[in-house]
């Protein structure tokens, strides 16, 4: 019996290091061989860095009225304004806000909402998936039934409903402040099902393996086995789904904001900027619409390509 803890301890000590080194080298090799993956990662990195350092990069603070000059309104990109002589890279909108700066700040909100929503969905989905897979019984039945019902409806519709209800519950004076958080919760809650299904499936396979039985034999409790033993072994599909979900969440956020049920004009995300820009489509101020759209497109496409590549690299069977 004294032998039992030892292999387990050895396994624990060796496994992560060896596995991750092996995984990393294969992974790194596949990455180096794929120009698409390198390009997509580069685009995502640039956009994320631009979002994080937006206050340092942006020539203007678009939300500080003191730095705005209404005379600068509708300045086309790259040409000096007729009244003030100021030049703006990507032009200005109707209120004289620098489009480049609003995009940087919008990117910030889009990425923040996207990452937070996916994180929320991941935490909920992985937790429920582990419980459903490991515990089984009525917990599994309830969780998977709820998942089935929710999967019947498109995620964007669920997110809209949650947003609408939350908007009704929050008092009008807080609505704009809360909108971003409501958006995160709405998208997060609409997106957990994929995580739960995959984690449950993987857990069902893992829980009958010897290392789990060994952990059970040495008396580890259910939660400890789920978190310390099973979770690390089901993480790679979770990573793939998280990346694909990120692209979906960014598009969902942009869509909701574009429809006017997302980020408010006081805290515009890329979707809100496109909504605002659409109003100037017919009057010829194309830059107000075009540049936020391109940014959103680049972001969504790059994250999507990263997700596709990650899926192929981590699990060749899914190709």
């Amino acid at each position: 019996m004294t032998d039992f803890p030892q292999p387990d301890a050895v396994k624990q000590a060796q496994d992560p290091g060896r596995m991750s080194r092996l995984w990393a080298s294969d992974f790194a090799y596949a990455f180096r061989r794929s120009p698409v993956a390198i390009g997509a990662t580069a685009v995502v990195l640039v956009l994320v860095l631009a979002a994080i350092f937006a206050p340092l990069i942006a020539p203007h603070d678009p939300f500080n009225p003191a730095t705005l000059n209404l005379m600068n309104g509708f300045t086309p990109p790259g040409t000096p304004n007729a009244f003030t002589g100021d030049t703006f890279w990507l032009g200005t909108d109707d209120q004289g806000r620098d489009v480049f700066s609003t995009i940087l700040y919008g990117l910030r909100i889009s990425l923040f909402v996207g990452f937070s929503a996916v994180l929320l969905a991941l935490i909920i989905g992985v937790t429920l998936g582990l419980i459903a897979g490991y515990a089984g019984g009525w917990a599994e039945t309830i969780i998977m039934r709820v998942a089935d019902v929710q999967l019947t409806f498109p995620a964007i519709l669920v997110a809209m409903l949650i947003f609408g209800v939350a908007k009704g519950i929050t008092p009008p004076e807080y609505r704009n402040q809360m909108a971003i958080w409501v958006l995160i919760i709405a998208i997060g809650l609409s997106d957990w099902v994929q995580f739960a299904r995959v984690v449950r499936g993987a857990t069902l396979v893992e829980k009958n393996k010897e290392y789990v039985q060994a952990a059970r034999l040495i008396g580890r409790t259910g939660p400890a086995i789920m978190l310390r033993h099973i979770l690390p072994n089901v993480l790679s599909p979770v990573l793939v789904i998280a990346t694909i979900s990120l692209a979906l969440a960014i598009i969902a956020e942009a869509t909701l904001s574009f429809l006017g049920v997302g980020a408010p004009p006081t805290q515009p995300s890329l979707g809100t900027l496109i909504r605002i820009g659409q109003g100037f489509l017919f009057s010829g101020e194309w830059w107000i619409l075009l540049f936020p759209s391109i940014t959103l497109l680049a972001l969504a496409l790059a994250v999507n390509l990263m997700g596709d590549w990650l899926r192929d690299a981590l699990n060749p069977r899914l190709k």
Partner: protein, 324 residues
């Protein structure tokens, strides 16, 4: 067989009851409709009168039962914003959405299957590769950007097609149709492409992969060996055998088309149910939201039920393993 059908129907009813509870809770607990309906200058008498009129002064259970009874009869109360019965508003708006969905669904199926077959037969051709790459971009493009792009190209730059609304409509027995006028048909083009594009790429990719699978089979090789013309082999032998998954996926997509109509209708200001729903969310018009939720759930649950039963009819393995 009967037990399976009964179980599925029972589950569907449960889902609908839960959705009904959600819809009612929204209706009852979200916001104060009186605040939304009356303006700044209101008297307490106005508030009380409206509260009684809308039945908001009654106990929870009474309101819930009333809600269920009314919903079953298609009566969803009065819109807070428009002050008219929700059922009437929905009935006015439904033809616009259904016509749009029908046109884009047909477009998606016809073009999707056609391009899927084409890219499968000429799998290494230049045109196929271009179509496949474009479809990847198409999947990544958010629906609303596609709509804006189309408006920019065809309405602003080329000035060929209308950018918003339904054009002229004709009433045919209580159904306002845009199929019978020139402007109505022109107005349908851009929104239906926008709405159908995603489903089109989905169907195309599915047909392509199924076709590639089937074209590898022996009976195709045998058909070729018999000297049958390519057209007969591709369409009579191969395509026919790819259609089962295509039909089920397409069936499930019908619901998505109606749900995604919300986005398309907003972009094109199409006076359908989706635009109504978005406006309801913006103005917290709970009766409209609740009614839309109920309607769409009935539709989705019905579609899922039908698809499940179809699976059951098609795949004999489910009949043994049907307990899950």
């Amino acid at each position: 067989m009967i037990a399976f059908i009964l179980r599925r129907v029972f589950q569907s009813v449960i889902v609908l009851l839960i959705v009904g509870l959600v819809a009612f809770s929204m209706f009852r607990f979200v916001g104060d409709p009186i605040e939304n309906m009356l303006g700044q200058e209101r008297t307490q008498a106005d508030v009380d009168r409206l509260r009684t009129q809308l039945g908001l002064d009654q106990p929870f259970i009474v309101q819930y039962l009333k809600f269920l009874g009314n919903a079953a009869q298609g009566n969803f109360g009065v819109s807070y914003r428009q002050g008219r019965p929700v059922a009437t508003i929905l009935a006015e708006r439904a033809p616009a959405t259904l016509e749009l969905a029908a046109v884009s669904g047909t477009l998606a199926v016809l073009v999707g299957i056609g391009m899927g077959v084409f890219t499968a037969i000429r799998r290494n051709g230049v045109a196929s590769n271009v179509i496949m790459s474009l479809s990847l971009v198409g999947v990544s493009l958010p629906t609303f950007l596609i709509g804006i792009l189309l408006i920019y190209l065809f309405s602003v730059e080329l000035d060929l097609l209308p950018s918003f609304g339904r054009g002229d409509t004709v009433m045919v027995g209580g159904w306002s149709t845009g199929f019978l006028t020139k402007s109505g048909l022109l107005a349908l083009i851009l929104p239906s492409i926008t709405l159908g594009l995603y489903q089109m790429t989905l169907i195309m990719r599915l047909v392509r992969s199924e076709m590639l699978e089937v074209l590898r089979q022996d009976y195709i090789r045998f058909a070729r060996a018999r000297g049958l013309p390519e057209r007969v082999v591709n369409f009579r032998h191969a395509l026919k055998n790819t259609l089962v998954p295509v039909i089920t996926v397409t069936g499930l997509q019908v619901g998505s088309i109606i749900a995604f109509a919300i986005i398309t209708e907003t972009v094109f200001q199409w006076p359908g149910v989706g635009l109504l729903f978005i406006n309801a969310i913006q103005f917290v018009d709970i009766p409209v939201m609740a009614a839309y939720l109920m309607l769409i759930s009935v539709m989705f649950v019905a579609i899922n039920l039908i698809v499940d039963l179809l699976y059951f009819a098609i795949d004999p393995r489910l009949r043994i393993d049907g307990r899950h």
